[in-house]
Symmetry: C2
Subunit: 116 residues, 2 copies
Amino acid sequence: MSTSNCLFCKIVDGQIPAKIAYQDDKCLAFHDINPQAPTHILVIPLEHIASLKEATSLNNELLGHLLTSAAKIANDLGIAEEGFRTVINTGALAGQTVFHIHIHILGGRGLAWPPG
Amino acid sequence: MSTSNCLFCKIVDGQIPAKIAYQDDKCLAFHDINPQAPTHILVIPLEHIASLKEATSLNNELLGHLLTSAAKIANDLGIAEEGFRTVINTGALAGQTVFHIHIHILGGRGLAWPPG
């Protein structure tokens, strides 16, 4: 399901290294290379889905798995008790730079409002 | 499944009014009363789940439904093409104030980075 010119598919395929935080048979999580908080992880599906706009109800179980995996990762990394924020950017104006859907997990500091 | 002292369960039950943007048999979406962007919607499950920390893999389909519904709502409200951000705050340090899980949808303006 990988797309040859997609940065995150290349991480899934092991062609580009990443600091892996978690993986299972449906998703992969790794540390953001430009962290915006003491803990900043990206959770991606192994399957290439460009953005939340391209997702359909057939992807519901997978998308939910990304969210519950994010909570598990936050717990494993010790940021769940204090609190953490999960963010999906959809489209360029929202700040999406890689068009393979990904959930940002941010924690380890207070998070201001509005969220950008 | 409603919890008697939960603000969002009261909105689901119609005890407290809200400006509804979307509803189906599993979720409800309404305009945030303190909007942080020209379009700022909350999507909640009808079922009471306190936060993402309390969700389990049994909730994956429902959580994914909230995300794909968020994309549908963003499209219906005309903010999907430019881009939108979806945010879940989990825990007080992350800014969660109502302990009934909700997805913020923000759009209609550029969204800065970091997200809070």
